[in-house]
Symmetry: C2
Subunit: 515 residues, 2 copies
């Protein structure tokens, strides 16, 4: 028998269910635990060899640290430091001591309690694409990131429960550099109640950002320092270098007890060795150096392990994402993260230039690598194309479908005797159907995930409705979300005070990024 | 620091690698073992409850079997049979006895030894989309399946090593029903050397197909029966019914010791209970009944367990694929397959009407469900859209990229001391790059997977080259493959004899399908 899924048959069967019933399914996407079995690509002894090689690299080869204050902290902690070469040799004992006091669990305070997140192994936290110089959508085309795009993409991030942290999706290049942190902080505080991001671009911007957030939340300095209220991403300059703003950020965030997510970007064959094992070993060494610096600056400071390791096209040097090598690197990083016990971030992504089948396949493949690796935070999980040069509004939506389906798997499914439904099997006779069965009628409004933009209509109906592809439907979806967007309720006095503080800061010249 | 992946930088770095070097990577895609950790959605005791409920269903509720010969076999095996209602009540002892003698390992003989496959738990075998009434491609549009499409899609299946069996991708509706099996057998024998498929559409067609294959391979009857040389797919008529051609196929293939892959199609809420647990329990019961019939017809006959269980849109009745429920059903089926120890088939798929982001995401999501479920054979893993009503040439290519990336993960990656590359870490100084490192030069032609149609060029280059999306590139790819297609070397005498046999059979009227 061939599989009969003809419209006629579907239609006939469909009559048995109430076509007008609104779905009543409610699934919590805000707090996820990873439900997947964890994968390994290397044996435990090879992971140990990679860990020990990373310790050798830090101790014998050393790492270049451009910030004198950071070198001073390493020296005070027992490292061998050469200020003329700026090289720091970190003993394995120092790394071991840092790993012993770095927290395994980090409870982060968002703008609302039901948006709080906990960074620890086993939890699953998603972020959309971050740090792109461009934004693109089908109605307005590809353009340099600007304030409008930054606000809209932050609102879309707020809208979806399955996105748990706010990254800087694109760079608002129409805002002056000395005032950009005011704009990004104000947007995050007023348009979303999820955990905000602060760029580590020098102490002045960081301190001003901390103060805005502290006052907006009505906290004293001590209260602000009592828990993480924001986070930053720290990229080392692979290979073996930590530049001034990154080192300063590690110190400033550690002392304020805010979260640093350490992310060496060791592209295989470019900034890292060409092998998965080599690139991940280098990434591990750099992450351990950065983690050690945070603990020297502030024992017990919240810090996240991380990596962003994929490969490049050896013909052009172009970076690639969602490749088998990227997948294996994520899994290897997960093995090392479990070895040291810290929460960690992995990353998905795509090098495609538009939101086509390549873009969808690369991002989902990259996300599965992180999921099977047990990544605590998965960055660039939606909307990120061109290897990070652009965030696509449509891809943000089509990737969201995948993240919501993963969240549905986190919720699990039950198999009670009632679920198995022997009564239904008794009720429906051979050759019959279950549309009208009691077991079905009791569940049909809530049993299944309702797709975000997936269109399951048959070819005839789909054609009559305009033959819209996923991108066309995604365009309607993000436009509909933005049109109906309501920011979270905020205290008007604090909003006014925030505004006044930014006006005063602007008059005082704000603060330029430092490098 | 923001992540600098600008074209300028890529270009500069790229110079360090030889842009003209041809890749020398060789990875065996023909024999795969599943490298992923296996997932569970239900506890062992609930799986046991589902298994026992399935046994209760067969024993107490019974299953309708339309073929008298099959009922006679069940009766002779100890079942309680009512010929007027056509109901067969199969005791759990009969099922247990059948499972005890059904082979755990099935070595299948393809047209060439290096195409042989072994069906057993742990192996990983891919098939493209099967059984579609339509074919579509961007150059010729959507049309009813015809001989030309059947031949082309069979050639594309032959071309890719990561596809291990030949399914009937589309139905060649321009070939008369009484001669269609001649056409499909001749095409499979002359255009591919992978394991061929024979439709179970009644004994006359099946026997004629067996004879053509036996003679083409130069085998005696005993030799042909000594090992599986082809396979069929058996869909039960869920719920609880096995129709005449399906029952006849189970008997005919078992007696000829050829492979039956049993696949109940229990769509949740339609032909099966609305719950994952209920639909899989029904699927399990029907599969056990079919497997029992094969062992009654021929003890030790090769038979594969299987399921195709997804959900429908309860508003329209339209089937959906690559959903969270489909994923969970695959994982549950994997748990039951391990419970009985037989190789089994799962299925991916998509309900999208074109090869867009929805199509890519649904198929990859469905495939991951099968991979984490430990499916031995994954059907509809490439090219299958519209819930099986159409096979898309372009989607066949874009899905192939994902399957090849999975095959790369099957090959694994090593972490020897040389791979970790301390020498490279010593050679490259802080802030430098690895493009010119000895460690890189020794490996750059073979270290990375080379994409099939993935385009990693930057936006500027991609635009200059015509801004082709994945579907446009996929069109070039399948056209290029078909233009250069060379069928496997075959014995000209056997090809001539095959042709003569078909001419004689045609003159004799061939054989009509039976129902």
């Amino acid at each position: 028998m061939t599989l009969d899924t003809s419209p006629k048959r579907r239609g006939r069967r469909a009559k048995h269910a109430d076509a007008d019933a609104a779905p009543t399914r409610k699934v919590d996407y805000r707090t996820l635990r990873n439900p997947f079995p964890l994968m390994s690509v290397f044996s435990e002894d090879r992971i140990e060899a990679m860990h020990n090689t990373a310790l050798d690299v830090l101790e014998r080869l050393g790492i270049k640290v451009l910030l004198p204050e950071a070198r001073a902290l390493f020296r005070a902690g027992g490292a061998r430091v050469n200020d003329s070469t700026e090289m720091v040799h970190i003993g394995r004992d120092m790394v071991k001591a840092a790993l012993a006091i770095a927290p395994r669990r980090i409870d982060c305070r968002a703008g609302a309690r039901d948006r709080d997140i906990t960074l620890e192994l086993g939890n699953l936290i998603f972020q959309p694409g971050a740090g792109a110089p461009h934004a693109t959508d089908l109605s307005r085309g590809r353009r340099p990131g600007d304030a409008k795009s930054y606000v809209e993409l932050t609102q879309l991030t707020q809208h979806f429960d399955v996105l748990h942290m706010v990254p800087p999706l694109i760079e608002p290049q129409d805002i002056p550099l000395n005032l950009r942190h005011y704009f990004t902080m104000q947007t995050q505080m007023t348009q979303t109640d999820k955990l905000p991001f602060v760029y580590a671009r020098g102490t002045p911007q960081v301190q001003q950002s901390f103060e805005l957030l502290r006052d907006f939340r009505g906290l004293t300095d001590d209260e602000f320092h009592s828990a993480p209220h924001c986070y930053t991403i720290i990229n080392t300059n692979s290979p073996r270098q930590i530049d001034t703003p990154m080192a300063q950020g590690l110190i400033d965030f550690a002392r304020a007890r805010q979260v640093s997510i350490v992310t060496p970007f060791t592209l295989m064959g470019a900034m890292g060795p060409i092998t998965v094992a080599g690139a991940i070993t280098l990434s591990h060494a750099e992450a351990l150096a950065a983690i050690t610096l945070t603990q020297l600056a502030q024992p017990g400071a919240p810090v996240c392990y991380g990596t962003f390791t994929s490969n490049v096209d050896m013909k052009s040097g172009a970076p690639a994402f969602g490749t088998p090598e990227h997948f294996q690197a994520s899994v290897a990083a997960g093995q090392l993260a479990r070895r040291i016990g810290l929460p960690w971030r992995g990353a998905s992504g795509s090098a495609a230039n538009i939101n086509d089948a390549q873009a969808a396949n690369e991002t989902q493949f990259g996300s599965w690598g992180c999921l099977l690796a047990g990544a605590t935070v998965i960055v660039h999980a939606a909307g990120w194309i061109e290897g990070g040069l652009t965030v696509s509004y449509e891809k943000l939506i089509t990737d969201m479908e995948v993240l919501q389906m993963v969240a549905e798997l986190c919720a699990g499914v039950s198999a009670t005797d009632a679920d198995i439904g022997l009564s239904a099997l008794e009720e429906v006779q051979p050759g019959g159907h279950f549309f009208g069965a009691q077991h079905t009628l009791e569940r049909y409004q809530s049993e299944f995930y309702e797709p975000l933009i997936g269109d399951w209509s048959n070819f005839g109906t789909w054609t009559e409705r305009g033959a819209q592809d996923a991108n066309a439907r995604a365009t309607h979806k993000w436009q509909e979300i933005l049109a109906g967007f309501r920011p979270p309720a905020i205290n008007p006095d604090r909003a006014a005070a925030l505004n006044d503080a930014i006006v005063r800061g602007t008059e005082a010249g704000g603060a330029l990024p430092e490098s």
